[in-house]
């Protein structure tokens, strides 16, 4: 029995071949079953949020999540939980589950994390570093290695994940060009 499609999974490709991934949403791709469509998954203007990318290279399955906050607290949450990918502690396990449903093997999964900057220097709390810490804890709990990490700092970042070549491009705010980081 198939559940109805989740509203927080983004599948729509725009006319430039991009999937723009909003906060609290995720995308999963099985590259073997996609013959002529090789979208780029894009997050623009990443601040304290995190882009979490997970790849199973052997099975050609990958996913990406756009995370806002470190942890979910159901006691205080006022609405039905519709966007688990808002929270690092729920996003990591859910992304793994979704990848496995698509055919990925947990032992093959590797992660890339980007973001968690502190944009306002004088803010007392640093949600970005809390996000990074929680994601690292969760990845460790599931025994998933981090292949590449571009986190912290004080500038926004834009990320492009090219599913065709399984490569990742990164650009910091005020930088002109994207650099290949994976």
């Amino acid at each position: 029995m198939k559940d109805k499609p989740r509203e927080d999974r983004i599948i729509d490709v725009n006319n430039r071949g991009e999937i723009i991934l909003p906060i609290g949403h995720f995308a999963i791709f099985n590259l073997k079953s996609m013959k002529n469509c090789h979208p780029k998954i894009v997050i623009n203007g990443l601040g304290s949020c995190i882009a979490l990318i997970m790849i199973d290279k052997a099975n050609k399955i990958c996913g990406m999540s756009h995370i806002l906050l470190p942890s979910y607290n159901e006691l205080y949450y006022n609405a039905p939980l519709r966007y688990p990918h808002k929270y690092a502690d729920l996003a990591v396990s859910d992304l793994i589950e979704q990848l496995e449903n698509e055919g990925a093997k947990r032992v093959n999964l590797k992660a890339i994390i980007i973001g968690g900057a502190k944009i306002f220097q004088n803010h007392q709390n640093n949600i970005g570093s809390e996000n990074i810490q929680m994601i690292k804890n969760e990845l460790k709990r599931f025994n998933i290695d981090i292949m590449s990490e571009f986190t912290g700092g004080n500038k926004g970042r834009s990320v492009i994940f090219k599913t065709k070549t399984i490569s990742v491009l990164l650009r910091e705010t005020h930088q002109e060009k994207y650099e290949k980081i994976y």
Partner: protein, 221 residues
Amino acid sequence: MAKKDKIGNDIGIEDIKLTPIQLDSLKELGNIGSGNAITALSQLLNRRINVSLTSVELIPFWKLSDEFGGRETVVFGIISHVEGNQNLSILQIYTRESIINVISYLAGVDIKHVQKMKQLSDLDDLILSTISEVGNILSGHYANALADLMETTLVPSVPNMAFDSLGAIMDSLIAKNAKYVDLMIMIDTKMNIEEMDINGILIFLPAFETLKNFFKALNIE
């Protein structure tokens, strides 16, 4: 029909609705707050400022940063928070040119120096404190007008500045306000001074629990 989970008997995302009277009163709050702030700026710059109508929107947290030109637009953001009994944030967004023009008018500095600005650290302390003071005056006047209406005190924090993409600037606001809810209330007013090429937006984001206090203070159901 969205299924509700075990805590769904509280306010669900689709249950948060504002009545026309509540919307109008928020628009009025925004008009009065921004009006007070923009009058202060007008006196500071000795110019007439064009002001748009204030708009009020109930917006999903993940759509907020698509407003005002999109996540990648690089802007100058000044943010102030009021915390305590009432929780709200006031965000000011200016184009890079606006900030350069304001600084050159107020600080009387050689504009060439400022024009090279690529990041905040390119600016010296005098200029940074000038911008911070402008931000402070606007958020203070905005908050004061709201406080008067509600017969309470609202003291905004010292403003924090960033020169970055709109998405990066909004992230922290969204993180602060959408921790326990999926919808946010945004009350925004646009302003511009044509002869000085200054364009800005004043955004007022009240937390939901603060909203309830507002309506109570204004005798609105």
